[in-house]
């Protein structure tokens, strides 16, 4: 029943997409200066239907309708309500439906909120966006249908992988999708801009809020994924350079570059073609990421959905997108001389773009290199954190310095009035760095530079903030994001250098001492929960120096559906540091293996990222207030 409703709605959406394209072309032929009402109405229907379609799938998960194969494979009647709902997008088919929803809603909103831009530009954007929608609808219907039926109807579902039953992961896909699927709208707008020759300042204004939206959500989405990996996978870190993580980071780099170069286009009417390239690149990278993750071409620790037929479809789609955009770009490209002053805000923003592109290429190379060696030489290699750390970290230092100096530069021609101040900030940062070393402990030369440059950015952003409050300049969103980025790098640096990790075996009643810490295994009990039972250990941590006493309760969870064992870390998040214990049983022995970690500033790493994206939302709010 639900399956039929869902499929009908998907087909209806297919028809609506086709009719939008048809009426849009009709509308182009007329002399009307406005987009016809009919198109608005169809778009409204399109969005409504796809939302109802999604609600249908959610309902199927909530009522555990196991006649739908997707529900059968990913749900279970005993699963908590919250995870029944989030299970909807916790699988390939459901998440693809989410993908189509975002394409559709963005298409409608873009049409709605750009009324003061020329008709042709809006209509062409709509047409391109609907071609994308149709492409993905076809994929959804004929390759990855979330409403496929199964016969005979199973009595019970297989359940959602327990490691996906986590609040951070429940919100991770929607956030990330608004980010990188949202970038589709400026892909369409960029193509439309090339087709209709609608360029320059006005074009920049029409897409800037959309770039902000996708960038801010992408940032949050990456964060949610990262937090999940920290709490759930028990790896004890925030970033692992896993292909799946990289796939979400690549469009983020492109978006960040775009976010900055758009300012130049808006203020100075320069860099138009570069902005177009970035618009196209962002969405192309998003689809590439999806291809890499979903096709099974890459081996990743958490590749969950391997299917070459999916891969082929996405690859064909991707190739069409790339060729269409490249050929169009070649066709329209005009060589424009920029005559940029090497000391001006424009140049500094360009420098930001170089850095972003550098990071992008590095991460892209590291991610796809294994595919190339495998195909070309039959050699399997894997690229790990050492590669990224070696290539990226030294460059981050320079990047941070430019990030501190750049924003204060003036347009067209800049003069450094504040060299004196910069020097003072630099000396201040160096002093802070050495007092950290003096008070706590020594770290490597590279870490020194990282800390100094991060503090440099933090202090100069703070000074900026103070100035902007005094002058009531509307630059606080930018300062907030930059300041938080400085803090992010600083906390990452300190976290890296001040972590403590110990691995040992304990049995009940035993105590382990090291440095100032003692860890006592005081209790163990078995407890039943709704969909799993857990072996819960109690560990007392004592720090004699800081007079600190805490109990942690790591778990070994045994899930019934599907039958799985997971090891839940017990994490005591504090303002200054996190304590982290995982325990695992050792067969045929009373001993348990204990992994203890002290991770300073973990919370501040998350908070910094939240504030980075908050800067984006704040700017969005400012823009909205200005316009309406």
């Amino acid at each position: 029943m639900l399956s039929n409703i869902g499929n009908t709605l998907l087909f209806l959406n297919l028809l609506l997409g086709v009719s939008i394209i048809y009426f849009a072309f009709q509308n182009l032929k007329t002399n009307e200066i406005t987009v016809s009402k009919k198109i608005y109405h169809i778009c409204l229907f399109q969005s409504t239907f796809i939302i109802i379609c999604f609600i249908t799938l959610v309902t199927a998960f909530v009522v555990s309708d196991f006649s739908i194969i997707n529900v059968y494979q990913n749900s279970h009647s005993l699963k908590p309500f919250f995870y029944k709902v989030s299970g909807t997008w916790g699988n390939h088919e459901g998440s693809l439906l989410l993908w189509v929803i975002i394409l559709t809603i963005f298409s409608f909103l873009f049409l709605l909120y750009n009324k003061h831009h020329p008709k042709n530009y809006r209509i062409y954007s709509l047409i391109i966006q609907n071609i994308l929608i149709l492409g993905f609808l076809f994929f959804l219907l004929f390759n990855s249908n979330p409403f496929s039926k199964i016969l005979p109807i199973p009595k019970e579902g297989l359940g959602l992988n327990p490691i996906l039953q986590d609040p951070a992961l429940a919100i991770h896909p929607p956030l990330l999708y608004i980010g990188f699927v949202g970038s589709s709208i400026y892909f369409s707008a960029a193509i439309s801009s090339l087709l209709t020759n609608y360029s320059g300042k006005l074009f920049a204004q029409s897409i800037k809020n959309w770039v902000l939206i996708s960038w801010s959500f992408q940032t949050l989405g990456i964060l949610a994924g990262s937090i999940w990996a920290y709490y759930e996978l028990g790896w004890g870190g925030f970033w692992f350079w896993d292909p799946v993580e990289n796939a979400s980071l690549l469009p983020w780099f492109a978006m960040s570059a775009l976010l900055h170069s758009l300012i130049v286009l808006e203020k100075r009417n320069l860099l138009y073609f570069w902005v177009i390239v970035l618009c196209l690149l962002t969405f192309i990278l998003s689809v590439t990421g999806t291809f890499l993750v979903r096709s099974g071409i890459l081996n990743s620790v958490h590749t969950f959905a391997n299917d070459p037929s999916r891969g082929l479809y996405i690859l064909i789609f991707l190739s069409l997108m790339i060729f269409a955009s490249v050929l169009l770009l070649f066709n329209k490209f005009k060589n424009t001389s920029y005559n940029l002053n090497s000391n001006s805000k424009e140049t500094f923003i360009l420098v930001n773009n170089w850095f972003m592109i550098f990071y992008l290429i590095t991460v892209l190379l590291g991610t796809v290199y294994p595919i190339f060696t495998e195909v070309l030489t039959d050699n399997k290699v894997s690229v790990g954190p050492p590669f990224y750390n070696t290539v990226i970290i030294p460059i981050v230092i320079l990047f941070l310095l430019f990030m501190s100096v750049g924003p204060q530069a003036q347009w067209i021609k800049n003069k450094f009035y504040n060299l004196n101040l910069l020097l003072k900030i630099l000396i201040g940062s160096i002093l802070i760095n050495f007092s950290i070393i003096y008070l706590f402990k020594e770290y490597s030369l590279l870490s020194n530079f990282i800390v100094i440059s991060a503090v440099f950015l933090v202090i100069s952003s703070l000074i900026d903030l103070y100035k902007s409050f005094k002058k009531l300049k509307k630059d606080s969103p930018r300062i907030l994001s930059h300041l938080s980025f400085g803090f992010l790098i600083l906390f990452i640096g300190l976290n890296y250098n001040f972590s403590l990790e110990k691995d040992f075996n304990l049995k009940l009643g035993e105590k382990k001492n090291f440095e100032n810490y003692s860890i006592e295994f005081t209790d163990i009990k078995l407890q039943d929960f709704k969909n799993y039972k857990a072996v819960i250990g109690e560990f007392k941590i004592n720090n004699s120096k800081e007079n600190f006493n805490q109990s942690l309760y790591p778990e070994i969870r045994i899930y019934d559906n599907p039958s799985t064992i997971t090891y839940e870390a017990s994490i005591r998040s504090g303002i200054l540091k996190d304590y982290y214990i995982t325990m695992s049983n050792i067969d045929r022995s009373d001993y348990y293996n204990i992994k203890f970690q002290k991770k300073p500033f973990m919370m501040w790493i998350w908070v910094s990222v939240i504030f980075i994206s908050l800067g984006g939302f704040l700017r969005l709010y400012q823009n909205a207030k200005k316009n309406y």
Binding site: P308, L315, I371, L376, I565, I586, D587
Partner: protein
């Protein structure tokens, strides 16, 4: 002229990348399980975990059935199937050969120490090169073979309760 060269080289570059992706996709289909079932595995060369002696076909021919299990300590699903492997270890007609895939020796040993060692014999494939001959493209993966080295079934992903029943019944027949 110069522009044309730049343009065509960009296009050629894109074609090259897409071509590589395409071949990469097709490549993984060579490893398709369906094509492997019923085939005989040949050219076995695996390095034993603790010493450098090579495990060959002759070693495997001694067993009635062998389950070759590819695993690593860094692989989360491997932990999931581990209890089932321990249960399978008790089957009389079945020998378990573990192949430690792209792993560090210490981590692997720790894994077995923590969770128990279900394997009758253990090999290591640090670079993941030998495993390719078995058609492995992700772990965990397991291959059930008989005395004649014919592949009876290949299991992609962790061995489930159903797989367990299947193996048990096959081996006891």
């Amino acid at each position: 002229m110069q522009k044309k060269i730049i343009k065509s080289s960009i296009i050629l570059f894109i074609i090259f990348i897409i071509g590589v992706f395409f071949t990469g996709l097709n490549k993984s289909s060579i490893y398709d399980t369906k094509n492997l079932v019923g085939q005989k595995i040949t050219n076995i060369k695996l390095e034993r975990f603790n010493n450098n002696r090579i495990i060959t076909e002759e070693d495997l021919k001694k067993n009635d059935f062998t389950l070759i299990n590819f695993w690593a300590s860094w692989c989360a699903p491997c932990r999931v199937e581990h209890p089932i492997l321990l249960k399978l270890n008790k089957e009389k007609n079945l020998k378990l050969l573990g192949v430690n895939f792209k792993d560090k020796k210490n981590n692997a040993l720790k894994f077995l120490r923590d969770l128990g060692n279900p394997y009758d014999d253990l090999a290591r494939d640090e670079l993941g090169k030998y495993s390719i001959n078995f058609g492995i493209y992700g772990i965990p993966e397991s291959i059930l073979i008989n005395k004649d080295l014919v592949i009876i079934k290949k299991f992609i992903g962790p061995i489930s309760q159903n797989d367990y029943t299947y193996i048990k019944n096959t081996v006891r027949e």
